[in-house]
């Protein structure tokens, strides 16, 4: 395991006018990890993901990926460098088939796209248009599409909401398999049960600031974290 982190956020700050969505957030993701990112509503989790993937430009701070400064790069270039992401509300290409969705990322490599479809267990609907898939299938398609771009790091934005326990377990298993194959994951999640089981390390945000970081067991006992979530019904 190499010593330089795969992804590093250094003092990332993002303000929208007077609203400070992120303040001096430091975050490190090491290769081969499943890194968790949690926090109550409005804590800035998705904002951070958007900053990393080039949808927002941070007001200040740096984002380094594979030793290169990607802070001001455009989204599609960041993707080509090896960062993929899924969206909270999935954004599939509705009129393309599942396979074609994967091929958008994979380029002309149809076989690899097929492989990615197979890994998320969508092989039997590969020729169905995305608009005709179930919600869970679309979630899986998001992951297949991300995999098909041969990323080193996938940012997963809330993959568990709206899934029943069976689907949830399938998804966690899939994320572990992805990690086995050498892809690092930075996973934003609201559903505690899932992320506590799967993550190696976790970072907690509240109102744009990092308030805790460590292994899931430590986080579960951390008073600051508990206090942040007070009033939010989550079983830890």
């Amino acid at each position: 395991m190499p010593n330089t982190p795969l992804l590093e956020c250094r003092e990332v700050t993002k303000s929208f006018g007077k609203l400070m969505a992120l303040s001096d957030v430091d975050l490190t993701v090491n290769e081969g990890e499943i890194s968790g990112l949690i926090g109550p509503n409005g804590s800035g989790k998705t904002t951070l993901i958007n900053c990393i993937t080039g949808f927002y430009k941070p007001t200040s701070g740096k984002i380094i990926f594979l030793g290169k400064d990607i802070t001001r790069l455009k989204s599609y270039i960041i993707c080509k460098m090896g960062i993929a992401r899924t969206f909270q509300i999935p954004r599939p290409f509705l009129r393309l088939t599942a396979l074609e969705n994967a091929m958008v990322s994979a380029g002309d490599d149809k076989d690899f796209a097929l492989e990615c479809i197979e890994r998320v267990d969508l092989l039997d609907v590969k020729d169905t248009q995305a608009i005709n898939l179930t919600f869970h299938q679309i979630r899986m398609l998001e992951i297949a599409r991300a995999l098909a771009s041969r990323p080193k790091l996938i940012l997963i934005d809330e993959a568990m909401a709206g899934l029943n326990p069976v689907e949830m377990d399938k998804s966690i298993k899939l994320l572990r398999e992805i990690r086995e194959k050498g892809v690092t994951l930075l996973w934003v999640e609201h559903v505690m049960r899932a992320i506590m089981k799967a993550a190696d390390r976790m970072v907690v945000l509240q109102e744009g600031r990092k308030i805790a970081e460590g292994e899931p067991k430590q986080i579960a006992d951390d008073q600051k974290v508990i206090a942040a979530y007070l009033g939010e019904k989550y079983m830890l």
Partner: protein, 293 residues
């Protein structure tokens, strides 16, 4: 009056018109689908194609057939430049309602280009010599070989375009941008490049139509007005953003024009086209193959 030869004649005439309408309509639909911009300058690319063909023949003294590639190139070049310089800014710089700004920009461009053309090229009509002299006899009438060539080239172009959009990597990327721009961003597609290229191709298609028809009709600065109307009607009838739809719509419009002009009266040819449009939109507001995304 209504006999098989007459029907064959009229259908052929309608399809010959439809092929050119299709080139124009697909160009404007492509631009709308990918960029969500209503290209009001579309008729001027048709005009530029025709003038490019004309001046190629005039100054380089080549047969008309060799004037078609420069026409296509002129349409593509102008489209690409217009997109980079004018339209790009409307969506790259976080303007509210970028589609409307871009639409107004193309409208202004249309007026500007028509006036420049009138001043620079002069108001008089021009024409290029035939692509291939000769005629094809069809019962009562003959159609010039040029029209048949225009029909064939249009079909070939449309087939090539279809293959490009459906089967190639770039075509898929363009469809991705059209269907979900944000999703396209995270799959490594540069939407700005997709927009410039697709706008250029849209302009090139219109310019191809202009170059092919320069020997058949006549060339004058405002010649793009009517093709623009047809393009919008076809795009709306076929369903905004649906390329297959605009192709079917072009065929419907071509046939409607010919049949209405023959059996009802020529002034009613256009009225008939609008009636078909209105009825379709009332029954199916998204157009024939359009969808509510």
């Amino acid at each position: 009056m209504i006999s098989l030869p007459v029907i064959v004649e009229l259908v052929t005439m309608g399809l010959v018109l439809a092929a050119i309408y299709a080139l124009m309509a697909i160009g404007i639909t492509l631009i709308y689908g990918i960029m969500k911009v209503s290209n009001f300058a579309h008729g001027e690319y048709y005009m530029i194609g025709a003038y490019a063909a004309y001046y190629t023949v005039k100054f380089l003294n080549v047969p008309t057939a060799l004037s078609i590639p420069p026409a296509i190139a002129a349409g593509f070049a102008l489209g690409y430049i217009v997109e980079r310089l004018i339209i790009r800014d409307t969506y790259a710089k976080k303007i509210e309602r970028p589609g409307e700004y871009a639409m107004l920009a193309t409208l202004a461009l249309s007026i500007l280009l028509q006036n420049i053309a009138r001043e620079v090229f002069g108001p008089f009509m021009r024409s290029t010599p035939p692509l291939m002299p000769g005629r094809v006899m069809l019962y009562l009438i003959t159609l010039s070989l040029d029209r048949i060539i225009a029909l064939v080239i249009s079909i070939v172009t449309l087939v090539a375009l279809y293959y490009f959009i459906r089967r190639t990597k770039t075509g898929r990327a363009w469809r991705a941008v059209a269907q979900n721009k944000v999703g396209a961003l995270v799959t490594g597609i540069n939407p700005e490049k997709a927009c410039s290229l697709s706008y250029g191709i849209g302009g090139a298609l219109a310019a191809l139509a202009g170059g092919l028809l320069a020997p058949v009709y006549a060339i004058y600065p405002n010649m793009g007005f009517w093709p623009l109307i047809i393009s919008f009607v076809a795009m709306t009838l076929g369903g905004l953003g649906s390329i297959e739809g605009s192709l079917i719509a072009a065929v419907i419009i071509g046939l409607t024009h010919v049949f209405a002009a023959t059996f009802i009266g020529s002034s009613y040819a256009d009225v008939a086209m609008y009636v078909v449009l209105i009825i379709t939109v009332v029954i199916r507001p998204t157009g024939l193959l359009g969808r509510r995304d």
